[in-house]
Homo-oligomer: 380 residues x 2
């Protein structure tokens, strides 16, 4: 059996590779559109494929509660259910559960919590999380980890890491389907010592890939970049590396330059729904709702060929937002996803031909004074 | 110059034809998707073309207030603005203004009303309405008519018709662009005597087409069908005939059987947003939100090839509605529009090959006990 992760080219630390799953191979670096409740908001799967997506992310917490993993299995599994034929990665559900402040109780066994939908008592354990993900039939499952609050003290963080390590082992043991990929996650916040411990522990286990958790959760941009300067190097070079919940185009080129391969974030769709659109220009985004654009006959981005840019003017999309037409958020979301996926394609090409540093410099320059870090969430 | 309406085939009273506008020719009978605020809710123009639409309808009242006809002209006209390259028909704005009960004052000159958006005073006259439509650059403009309440007495109705006739003449005189088609509208409710007067008056003017107004506004189905049994015959056979704001698939085959050529209705999109989906079966619709469909692995309609039916199960779309994902309303709207446009194609083919009576019988049988008449509105 060939290895799942194949490295094809390197440019500095930036890696051009591919990853093999039961549902097909995807090229890296890549960005995964977020389909929280099994739907990338406002975007059908044909458009999603057209704009260049190769992997979709779904949220275990939401699908476990509704419609339930058993039901998804019954109607043919997550690919049939979502209509997405390519690879699908699910998170562990932990991030959402740990966000339910005051509604959860943590033990060695797992987390007891109350559903945000009906208040019913639920229990999430490492085995339970893998079971839900495996039953849905995803390509890649994430191990359940504890996501501690950023402000806990060092000793508590060490304790948390130790439990996450035990949970990681339990997660791997819970897999019964040999074709299911399982990724481990490192925590440790912005503490280099903890990140080092976490990577030594998690990378000692036979995961199919390694993810960096606990970043882009509200910390300043420079702190995240500091972690990225050493932490990807602590993960095995022959495995895929995933930076969870990140981020802006700048974050992505920064992380790629440090050897990260895959990303996911609600930013392109969530921003889009609020009218923020990303462009291949300086400044790199604007809000289409601004009345400046009410008579602007150009497309959102002249260099873009998405369904929004090939059919509509800024004036029209500004109008859609003003009058509350749902086509506005739809078009802005599709445009932003196209922007992200086009950036990923350009990153891949630039690593292959050795021009990644030039692309990196352009993106960094455009974002030099901008910071959209606001404590992103992994679902929307 | 060839005539705008070309009759190609007849089957009983049903007519197979085409209509020529500056923005292209469309085939009749046809159905016009409603783009109230210059957008067919949730459907981009590429999908709209794919599902078989040839003409789009927009609402003058809404676009006049936001973003304004002058602004639409400034950014390139209604085709450039909406991205829809084919013919566009606009209503006169009258239907919406007459729906603003207690906020309007009618005089011979026109209607004074207050905007539903900001309460500002506005004035709609026959000349003003044509000016707004002409300035937007639509293919087909509708003359402003008075839409009286269904319960006014006969004498008041006669007076109303007389004014609508004077307004019709003013509307025609207000046209300055010779390539703009203008359609006249008959009123008269369900009174045969008034419909006869209205058709004699309106059809004495040199309109490019004739529309039947004041039906499908809450009257019982059988009353509307009674009017359809004689009134289309009162309109000139060498001109296109338009039944405004209609209706269900049954209404459409009924009206086609009486010689009507074009239709518009919010039913496919509005119903779709609430989960009602139309199918080529008996019964002819169901609500996808019903929990019966939570584990149904089939498409909405096995005979349909729309983006919803070729990618997704009933179970998935049921889930989307349950969790409030916008993709649910989008898919149901696209499916319903596809259902309507496919019906229109089948109607056209059946008139050509003489099998329209068989198609008519099938549709009528499916709807024999059903009535969705609820006082539809011309906008959404």
């Amino acid at each position: 059996m060939t290895k799942r992760y194949q490295l094809k080219a390197i440019c500095g630390k930036a890696r051009r590779g591919s990853f093999r799953t039961r549902q097909g191979i995807f090229q890296t670096p890549t960005f995964m559109p977020v389909g929280t409740r099994a739907s990338v908001k406002g975007v059908d799967v044909e458009r999603l494929a057209e704009l260049g997506a190769e992997v979709m992310l779904v949220n275990t917490y939401h699908l476990w509660l509704r419609p339930g993993h058993e039901r998804i299995k019954k109607v043919g599994g997550i690919n049939t259910f979502t209509g997405w034929k390519g690879p699908i990665l699910s998170d562990s559900g932990g991030f959402q559960v740990f966000s339910l402040k005051g509604m959860r109780t943590l033990t060695e066994e797992g987390v007891e919590f109350r559903s945000h939908i009906d208040g019913s008592k639920q229990f999430l354990s490492p085995e339970g999380s893998i079971n839900v993900q495996q039953t849905m039939g995803v390509s890649i499952a994430m191990a359940l980890d504890e996501c501690p609050a950023a402000n806990i003290d060092f000793a508590a963080f060490e304790k948390s890491l130790a439990m996450t390590f035990r949970w990681a082992k339990r997660s791997l043991e819970a897999r019964t389907d040999p074709e299911l990929c399982v990724f481990g996650i490192t925590q440790g916040g912005c503490h280099q010592q903890l990140r080092t411990i976490a990577s030594e522990q998690i990378c000692s286990l036979s995961f199919d890939g390694f993810a960096i958790g606990g970043l882009s959760v509200g910390e300043p941009k420079n702190q995240m970049y500091e972690v990225l300067s050493y932490h990807p190097d602590q993960l095995p070079a022959d495995h895929i590396r995933y930076l969870m919940g990140v981020g802006t185009p700048e974050d992505i080129v920064e992380a790629v330059s440090q050897g990260v391969d895959i990303f996911d974030c609600v930013m392109p769709t969530r921003s889009g729904r609020f009218g923020r659109v990303f462009i291949d220009s300086d400044p790199p985004f604007f809000n289409i709702k601004n009345s400046t654009f009410a008579e602007d006959t150009g497309p959102i981005d002249p260099s873009c060929r998405c369904v929004a840019c090939r059919n509509y003017s800024r004036a029209y999309i500004n109008h859609l937002f003003k009058v509350g037409e749902m086509l506005g958020p739809q078009l802005a979301s599709i445009h932003n996803l196209t922007h992200y996926l086009t950036l990923m394609r350009r990153i891949r090409e630039s690593i292959e031909d050795g021009t990644f540093p030039a692309l990196y410099a352009v993106i960094k320059e455009r974002w030099r004074t901008l910071d959209l870090h606001q404590g992103a969430s992994a679902a929307e």
